[in-house]
Symmetry: C2
Subunit: 341 residues, 2 copies
DNA sequence: GTGAAAGCGCTAACAA
DNA sequence: TTGTTAGCGCTTTCAC
């Protein structure tokens, strides 16, 4: 038995086979719990694995089949909603033998797609992608080879699964809440570059649409006002500062999500301004007494877990596409109140 | 030319070679910008790559050499300090050709080590690990083969690099601030299971040590009180509730980090209690007017970027170990005030 | 400047 | 039940 493991610094399946006095195939079978291994052999092989500190290389396995790796693409770690989704996804994976690998998407429109590619280049067995901007056709091309679950996408493909919240309902509830409080000058703080457009079938696109629809229904078309900010609390803060210093100050701001709402609230509280704010998601800090943000709660953890479960189902053989919608719930807190007289 | 790409669903280097009418080796050279390729050939090969939508498989490359992948292990995405570190690390990587892959560590003592292993199994070219509980010897064994930068570790190995903050100074400053305000009943809310022990050379271990030292120096040994909570705001909240309802209520709480401090603040604000709170990190929400948390600021983004730079240096050939300490700075905000009379 | 061929570590089909 | 063997896609000498 040549101690190649010491020589090359990393034991291979051959080293284990030598040490146990069996063939490589036998070792491979033990590793995979494959059929047809005697208890004696299993024992000997396991002992050799232990003593050599052997770990199979994922790359070599990938050459033949699966990597036992699930990829997830996340657009913005600064937003704790995604963090919760991630947490849910991760929990659904414990005990399955799959390992989660996260590819971060830099800010920028194409970066989500890039991260997705990076995952695919590494031959993940399946992938959950959180709202990257990718056209349906290339997504379907990908999904034909690798199971894909899209998070926060409102289209219904035959090839990939989707998990999303009922944003129409969420935004409607929030708007009606603000209108019932008596607000008329409601600004919508939406995601996206200044002057850029929001894709229609995304959560933010739908929220924007509903904002417009509800303003119209309330006869407030002339008060309609949409301000855009890039992702992140900071950008929302700056946009809000500008808005508050503008000459037609709103009495309420409907933010595209809580991360933005928190930024808006920062500007408002700094100025001791009397402007209501509402968001989407119900991230953990939203319920903090110092923040107390009214929001449309999305069950992020559940949604992440469900997305991962759907992926596991695919991996087990499901072939028809599945699309799941989660219901949001309105959570009213101190950040929304009637407008000042 | 057989269109194997359609047949197998994924173009290989052979398909590209066929399409361009050259050898596999030629394609490989073009891919790697290797020496000895005529402009004409480069052109033809690139055209073929384009038209076949070819992407090299990382696994196959891994069999021969590097994966152009950097791994980072992160213990808790719920803590936005780590999120900032991640952001810094990621920025340092843009434009280098390396792709970042994140392995999440589940909660639990051994999980950081497990995530690290998962990364190693996938043959990352280098790894940044954020405070996993791993003994120095196995870390050194790993570092001998794969460059490793440890984040938040205060030991100095000859084999791996470290990046940490001067926690002794940070904790000292915070304690002196509280003492100068006149607090005597200061509880330390530390990380860790109830009754568990904090490792000495970790940030939390050092903070605990300094808490004790400063209490002793102020002649307050009898008031020393250490409460433990698991990671996360929730656990800190619960521990604080208990502490506030206890019969010797503290006038100030020194939390192990901001995530805990936020949880403590939640309990305090809910009860409209007059207890000061201080933390470590200066996560984004700490400066929010609704929170206004006194803290020892750690430059997380810079630290993450530096950690990644150190890794890149190793990848470029540096062989001596490097250890870097960042200086924290005390940020006093509204959450600390003199004790009630 | 270009191509042929060996081999990285593993799995799975087949033979024994 | 166990072992032999042919690749998976890529890089890298080494001939030409």
């Amino acid at each position: 038995m040549s101690d190649a493991s010491t020589a090359r610094g990393h034991a291979t399946i051959q080293d284990v086979a030598d040490a146990a006095g069996v063939s490589r195939a036998a070792v491979s079978k033990v590793l995979r719990n494959a059929y047809g291994v005697s208890p004696t052999m299993r024992q000997r092989v396991n002992a050799a694995i232990e003593s050599l500190d052997y770990r199979p290389r994922v790359a070599a396995r990938a050459m033949r089949g699966s990597t036992y790796t699930i990829g997830i693409e996340i657009p913005d770690f600064g937003n704790s909603f995604f963090t919760r989704v991630l947490f849910g996804a991760q929990s659904a994976l414990t005990g399955t033998g799959y390992q989660l690998m996260i590819a971060p998407a830099d800010p920028g429109p194409q970066e989500g797609a890039r991260a997705l590619e990076a995952l695919l280049d590494r031959q993940v067995d399946g992938v959950v992608a959180v709202s990257p901007i990718v056209d349906q056709s290339s997504l379907e091309r990908i999904a034909r080879r690798t199971p894909v679950v899209m998070f926060g996408r409102h289209d219904e493909s035959d090839f990939y699964d989707t998990v999303a919240a009922d944003d129409e309902r969420g935004a409607g509830e929030l708007m009606r809440h603000l209108l019932e409080l008596g607000h008329t000058r409601i600004t919508h703080l939406s995601i996206g570059e200044l002057g850029g457009s929001v894709e229609r079938r995304t959560p933010h696109g739908i929220r924007l649409e509903m904002y417009r629809k509800e303003m119209a229904r309330a006869g407030l078309v002339t008060h309609e006002r949409v301000v855009r900010a890039a992702e992140g609390e900071e950008a929302a803060y700056l946009a809000t500062v500008e808005e508050l210093d503008g000459r037609e100050r709103p009495t309420a701001i409907l933010a595209g999500h809580d991360a933005h709402a928190i930024g808006a609230l920062r500007a408002i509280m700094e100025r001791e301004s009397d402007v209501s704010v509402a968001g989407f998601d119900d991230i953990p800090i939203a319920s903090h007494p110092g923040i107390s943000l009214t929001t449309s709660r999305q069950p992020g953890e559940e949604m992440g877990a469900r997305a991962m479960d759907m992926l596991l189902e695919r991996l087990k053989g499901r072939t028809e596409a599945a699309h799941e919608i989660f219901e949001p719930s309105l959570v009213v807190r101190g950040s929304t109140k009637p407008p000042p007289p």
